[in-house]
């Protein structure tokens, strides 16, 4: 785990002035809350645009993106600091391979995250995928199993490819709400969030459009079809989640490896001993004794003249 080089966040200057101002404002707000670093974990299926989103947020081409090949199986951490504030974004490889969650990739990610604190989880999926299926559920389940249910308190659902015209003549907003609804449902299912967990329904959903073809507003900010500039919006949501009061998830050994199996049920050992003594050893001894008492002496022993007395 090579220590990540923390570089000055120069990419922020690439953003349009309006975005820059907004972002710096947000950063200062974070600093006010005594938060000087933020670690964002980006996860999701392969090919949904995780890396593109990371690139968009950082404002640099930090992660190689290719539409047709999957990136290497290693997570990458990008650290950028600006005005005393450090932003760490951890980009992870897609979790799905050959129709199931690749445990090896997951393991690599977990190891990578060891001893790190996750302030925000970005769960990335596409807006323009219509259906949710078992794969989504499996990915969510894998994330939950790895980092615990609590991680969803710090989660943000990011829907990429936001610039689309919905099919069947649906309204954009309707389409968006339907899609996020479907995803929320699967997240709840996969993360086993109970109905009474009110926070479960409050996982925010953010739209993202990474394409260079994204429409822009008069300030040259990339905007969504509904007109909002999405990068400031995303960062704002991230800060909101980071400050939402829930504890950040510390990925420690226990979380990764689960409880030490050797220590499990250890307190029951004396009990078992006692049980064995009273219910197994004692009856056996008793049985032996009664057997001896009942035993008829064999004829040869009688014949050989019982010189030897019994010992046992």
């Amino acid at each position: 785990m090579a220590s990540q080089l923390i570089r000055e966040w120069v990419g922020i200057q690439q953003f349009p002035a309006a975005t820059q101002a907004y972002l710096l404002d947000l950063l200062s707000k974070l600093k006010q809350q005594n938060v000087s670093s933020l670690t964002i974990l980006v996860m999701g299926k392969g090919g949904v645009g995780k890396s593109s989103t990371v690139n968009s947020v950082v404002g640099e081409r930090v992660v190689a993106v290719s539409a047709f090949q999957s990136e290497g199986p290693r997570p990458i951490m990008i650290s950028r600091s600006r005005a005393g504030f450090t932003l760490n974004i951890i980009d992870t490889p897609g979790l799905i391979e050959g129709g199931y969650v690749n445990d090896q990739t997951l393991e690599i990610i977990k190891r990578f995250l060891l001893d790190r604190k996750i302030d925000v989880l970005l769960y990335v999926d596409r807006l323009d995928a219509y259906r949710v299926d078992n794969l989504d559920k499996q990915v969510i389940k894998a994330i939950t199993d790895s980092f615990g249910k609590e991680i969803w308190r710090k989660a943000l659902i990011v829907l990429t490819h936001a610039q689309l015209s919905p099919p069947d003549g649906l309204e954009y907003d309707l389409f968006f709400s339907k899609r996020s609804e479907a995803l929320m449902k699967i997240v709840k299912m996969g993360a086993r969030i109970k109905k009474q967990d009110t926070w479960g329904s409050s996982i925010p959903v953010v739209l993202v459009e990474n394409s260079g073809r994204c429409n822009k507003n008069e300030y040259d900010e990339k905007i969504l079809p509904d007109g909002t500039a999405w990068i400031p919006n995303l960062v704002k949501m991230i800060t909101d989640v980071a400050l939402n009061g829930s504890k950040a998830i510390l990925v420690d050994k226990k979380l990764i490896e689960g409880p030490n199996p050797n220590r499990r049920w250890k307190e029951f050992i004396p009990l078992i001993f006692a049980f064995q003594y009273f219910f197994i050893i004692k009856p056996i001894q008793g049985a032996i004794k009664s057997d001896i008492a009942k035993e008829a002496r064999p004829s040869w022993e009688l014949r050989d003249g019982g010189g030897a007395s019994r010992k046992f």
């Binding site: 799905i96 050959g98 129709g99 995928a129 099919p167 069947d168 394409s211």
Partner: protein
């Protein structure tokens, strides 16, 4: 009887292999053989403990080394067509010779009978040699030769494999069958879209061949040879056509597949040319090699007892002494040209024998083809495509090509010009009178949510199915019939499939329901839908594709078009942040899907055409209101044209009878014609009827006993009358003078003979007694029955000690024989392991299990059951045979049997019944029926057999039969005469004459063989064999078995030494 024994020995293929190890053959035959062998062994054991058997066979010694293949002596050959042989067959030939070497070198003190048993399965090897010859004969015409290096190289590798192969005759027999299958494949599947599949079928089989580890390149080469030949014959046309194609491609660079197709053609041309060049380069060497191979092949053909007998196990490889090897398939010239490409129909042209007076009906065919062409042009016209559209041109070109190949003798005028057809089409369209006789069934498959239903709606331009972005709209398979531009189209919509591995169960359910749905009306074309804008990387769809392949078979992909929906979506950003071009995007995405399909189908040659679809309501449209893709393509006509093209080509196939699976049934398991000659020879094989245990040891029937009865009284107690005789010890014998020795041995032999005669007689008498007793017991009141039965049963179940494997002296852990000793338990089930003792080092060697049992129902009806399951790394084999016979009336018995066996990858079920009438004392007639279900082809056969026993020595078997499947009939007949020594089985002389005739596809194959075995002196046997078939191939072999001169055995070492000496040389050459 010798002949019979041999035959039956051969029936259990695995067993002869094991006999080396003392594991005896199964059941009744085995028992009988044991009896015989025991007798003989007793006789021999006195003489010496290790009797080397040495077969000196003229050409076989030469075969001893594959290096010498080049100077194989041809003396032994009566006549050899100087036919070439493709390298695949070369593999066989050398395999074979290895096998012979092995057999001949074997010094296991076996009797000659035993020896024959070994040879019998071996001799059955090259079943399709003739086939190969035929193919090569044509190849020779065009002077395509294997280049010398590769040829010899293949010999080398073959040699090593052969080593292993020899040790597994059973598997080789198995392979033979595969061979047969592959040949069948060659015959049967020769249609456009099947070509890719065929290759895939062919290559595996050839790899599976005994020399599996040997170069596949050999087989490939042969494939190329056939291909190149074909191509060359058509070369000129193809090249010109190819040029045309290229020009068109220049004009329209949208779809890349046709181009690739053309390139592939060209590639093939170059290949062919290259080969030709090589041919001219390599001089006499090659020819020599090939010629030698041919020679050998011919020999092998001749030597195989009945070359069509090569089913894995239940097929009975008739040993020596049966009819000649002429029940082989008619030689057919089958070639495939390799045309691959755009419309997913690689076309393989099968060339029928051009001598069928085709030219008459050719005109008619051409007219019909013209109609198809017109039809297609009309379709294209309706879809708004000109004849110059890439797809249209491609289809027309193929139709022309097919027509040419089909009607080689006919004129080739207008094969590639479609002006007339075009004019006709335009006229028909303009008049609007003639209804277009065309309909197409399309099935849509794909992941959920990719837009299957939406695509269907788009095609019909109306909402046929409701769609919902967030919910699976289609819950069940349903079809819709509609018209597009006046063309009747039926589309089957299917529920969406799920990509997750855990959902495959669900997918299977869906796919099975689809399968049921399309059973009656199979689709002409399948569309596999995926989204263009979804990067399904990381093999995400692999489980899904695999499930589809599993359920429908890989053939589903032969007729599949990849459809990418959401085609209007913008391409993703390239690596440098700039948007990549749309075409690049489409190409890449298509490539990903195609590659995934290839992997799932396990066929790397698949090239599914890609069509783009955009169903979005906001899709750009042209002035005519048709949806236009970002690249300017109007997608709907393109998609439909691709679909129709495949249907049209299938129709053309059906018309031209390019032997293809029925068009429009892409997923019905590719039906191929059942191997009729093989089935016929199996049918004609005489089968022993199951017998009651008490009759077990009797001869075929009581007849021999009856015949022998007269001689019983003769020298009844001759042996007992002899003066007492004291055997000498070895030391004493060595002291005797030469004449004394001779006299001593003569005396000894005479006594042995008499003794054995006596034994035989006693045995016979005992048996007769038993029979009488049993008969008497039946007449007795019931209380005696138990008793009698016990007795007779006791005789039957005298536990025959199962000879165990010969155990090696040491308990070497590598030797599996110690591990797999088995107990001969008292149950009626006879369970034995099938061992491959000559497997790999450290291999378990446990290949399968063999199960046998003879039941007796109501004390009258014997039911024999035998089954064998064996599995090795490559394939699993199952054979099961249940047979029963019922005697009704005097001399009449009917047997009924059910066989089940694996043939290639399929299971063949045979139900057969035979009735035998022994109406006369010396004549037995048998009539039988058989039905075989192989794959989904039902084969029916009928046979008549007559066995005539002229006198004690001479017997005659005449068999005739016919077998039919799918309107294809094969007739066959054989005559088999055996002349035995007077006091058989003691006398060793034997003379056999076999004749066989087979007619299939009007192709007559006649063959005969003669074999005779004569004892010369005390310890020497002379075996002469000759055979000849009507194609002029024949063989003469002379073989002397001697147990007298041990030193002759050393001769066998010569080839070995020579080989060893040559090794360093070869290494040098190799380096």
């Amino acid at each position: 009887m010798v002949a019979d024994g041999v035959d039956e020995g051969g029936t259990h293929e695995k067993v002869p292999v094991k006999e080396d190890d003392g594991l005896m053959s199964n059941g009744e035959d085995a028992v009988r053989e044991i009896a015989e062998l025991n007798v003989d062994e007793e006789m021999r054991n006195d003489a010496d403990e290790s009797i080397p058997t040495l077969g000196v066979v003229l050409e076989k010694l030469d075969h001893g080394m594959e290096d010498e293949l080049e100077n194989v002596s041809v003396e032994g050959l009566v006549d050899t067509d100087q036919k070439g042989i493709s390298s695949v067959e070369v593999v066989y030939a050398s395999d074979q010779c290895e096998e012979f070497v092995d057999t001949d070198l074997a010094t296991e003190g076996k009797l000659t009978i035993d020896k024959d048993l070994e040879v019998a399965p071996a001799a059955n090897h090259p079943d399709d040699l003739d086939e190969g010859n035929a193919t090569l004969a044509t190849e020779n015409k065009v002077h395509v030769k294997v280049e010398p290096e590769s040829a010899t190289a293949s010999f080398e590798s073959v040699y090593h494999d052969a080593d292993r192969e020899v040790k597994k005759p059973s598997s080789s027999a198995d392979t033979e069958y595969q061979n047969d299958i592959s040949k069948e494949v060659k015959h049967a599947t020769n249609g456009p879209d099947s070509f890719q599949g065929k290759i895939s079928e062919q290559v595996p089989t050839s790899i599976d061949k005994p020399s599996s580890t040997s170069d596949e390149s050999v087989t490939r080469e042969s494939g190329i040879l056939t291909t190149s030949e074909e191509l060359k014959s058509e070369k000129d046309e193809q090249i010109t056509a190819g040029k045309i194609e290229i020009n068109q491609e220049d004009v329209t660079s949208r779809t890349q597949q046709p181009v690739e197709n053309v390139q592939e053609n060209l590639h093939n041309h170059t290949l062919a040319e290259k080969l030709e060049k090589k041919d001219s380069d390599c001089g006499d060497d090659t020819k020599k090699v090939i010629r030698e191979n041919g020679v050998q092949a011919a020999e092998e053909v001749a030597s195989s007892g009945r070359s069509m007998n090569h089913a894995p196990v239940p097929a009975r490889p008739a040993g020596l002494g049966r009819a000649a090897p002429l029940l082989e398939p008619a030689p057919r010239v089958s070639q495939q040209s390799r045309v691959n490409g755009a419309v997913s129909h690689a076309q393989a042209q099968h060339i029928e024998d051009p001598a069928n007076g085709e030219s008459e009906d050719h005109d008619e065919t051409r007219e019909q083809l013209q109609m198809i062409r017109v039809k297609f042009l009309r379709l294209a016209h309706r879809l708004g495509q000109t004849p110059h559209n890439v797809v249209v041109a491609q289809v027309l070109y193929r139709l022309g090509l097919a027509e040419q190949i089909r009607g080689r003798n006919g004129g080739r005028v207008g094969a590639f010009s479609f002006d007339r057809a075009s004019a006709m089409a335009e006229q028909a369209e303009a008049s609007g009178q003639e209804p277009l006789d065309f309909s197409c069934t399309i099935m849509v498959l794909g992941k959920t949510g990719v837009g299957k239903s939406a695509t269907i709606n788009s095609i019909f331009d109306e909402v046929k199915f409701s769609t919902d972005a967030f919910d699976t709209g289609t819950k069940k398979v349903q079809d819709v019939i509609g018209t597009v531009q006046g063309i009747k189209v039926r589309i089957i919509d299917t529920p969406g499939l799920l990509p997750s591995l855990t959902d495959q169960r669900q997918n299977e359910k869906i796919l099975h329901s689809i399968k049921r749905f399309i059973k009656k009306t199979p689709p002409d074309i399948v569309l596999y839908l995926d989204r263009l804008d979804m990067q399904s990387r990381d093999l995400g769809d692999m489980p899904l594709l695999r499930t589809i392949t599993e359920i429908f078979g890989p053939s589903i992909w032969f007729n599949a078009i990849v459809v990418l929906t959401h085609a209007a979506s913008a391409p993703p950003d390239g690596p440098n942040g700039t948007a990549s071009s749309y075409d690049m995007f489409v190409t890449q995405r298509s490539h990903v899907v195609q590659q995934a399909i290839r992997q799932a189908a396990g066929d790397m040659r698949l090239m599914n055409p890609v069509s783009l679809v955009e169903n979005h309501s906001a899709c750009r449209t042209n002035r005519a209101g048709q949806r236009v893709l970002p690249n300017g393509q109007v997608w709907k006509p393109h998609l439909l044209l691709l679909s129709f093209a495949s249907k049209i080509l299938a129709e053309a196939n059906a018309l031209l009878k390019l032997q293809d699976s029925p068009p429009g049934k892409p997923f019905a398991s590719r039906s191929r014609a059942p191997p009729l000659p093989f089935l016929l020879s199996t049918l004609l094989q005489p089968r022993p009827q199951p017998k009651l245990p008490e009759e077990q040891y009797g001869d075929d029937d009581g007849m021999d006993d009856d015949l022998d009865e007269s001689s019983d009284s003769d020298d009844e107690s001759e042996y007992d009358e002899l003066p007492p005789f004291k055997q000498l010890t070895k030391a004493q014998v060595s002291k005797l003078t030469r004449t004394q020795k001779k006299a001593y041995f003569d005396e000894l032999e005479y006594r042995e003979k008499l003794f054995m005669k006596k034994q035989l007689k006693e045995e016979r008498r005992r048996r007769r007694m038993m029979k009488k007793m049993a008969a008497a017991a039946k007449d007795q009141p019931s209380e005696y029955i138990d008793n009698a039965e016990e007795e007779s049963g006791g005789a039957a179940s005298v536990p025959v000690p199962m000879p165990d494997l010969a155990l090696p002296a040491s308990f070497d852990s590598d030797n599996p024989t110690h591990r797999y000793r088995y107990l001969d338990n008292s149950t009626q089930w006879l369970v034995r392991p099938v061992l491959d003792t000559h497997g790999w080092d450290h291999d378990v060697g446990y290949e399968g299990i063999n199960l046998e049992r003879l039941f007796v129902v109501k004390e009258k009806i014997p039911i024999s059951f035998s089954g064998q399951v064996s599995k090795d790394k490559k394939d699993a084999n199952v054979q099961m045979e249940v047979a029963s016979s019922l005697k009704h009336g005097e001399g009449k018995s009917t047997s009924l049997g059910l066989d089940m066996q694996t043939v290639g990858k399929d299971l063949a079920y045979t139900l057969r019944s035979e009735t035998r009438f022994s109406n006369f004392r010396k004549n037995k007639a048998t009539a039988g029926l058989s039905f075989t279900l192989l794959n989904d082809a039902l084969t029916a056969g009928l046979k008549v057999e007559d066995k005539l026993i002229v006198n004690k020595c001479l017997r005659l078997v005449v068999t005739g039969g016919a077998i039919t499947a799918r309107g294809d009939v094969a007739y066959g007949g054989s005559l088999d005469a055996t002349l035995r020594d007077k006091d058989y089985p003691l006398g060793r002389s034997l003379f056999t004459l076999g004749l066989s005739v087979m007619d299939w596809h009007g192709d007559l194959a006649v063959g005969g063989n003669i074999q005779s075995q004569l004892p010369i002196g005390r310890f020497t046997n002379l075996i002469a064999r000759a055979n000849l078939n009507n194609r002029g191939a024949g063989q003469v072999s002379l073989r002397v078995n001697s147990s007298e001169q041990l030193q002759i055995a050393l001769l066998g070492l010569i080839p070995l030494f020579k080989r060893l000496l040559d090794l360093p040389q070869q290494w040098q050459l190799g380096q």
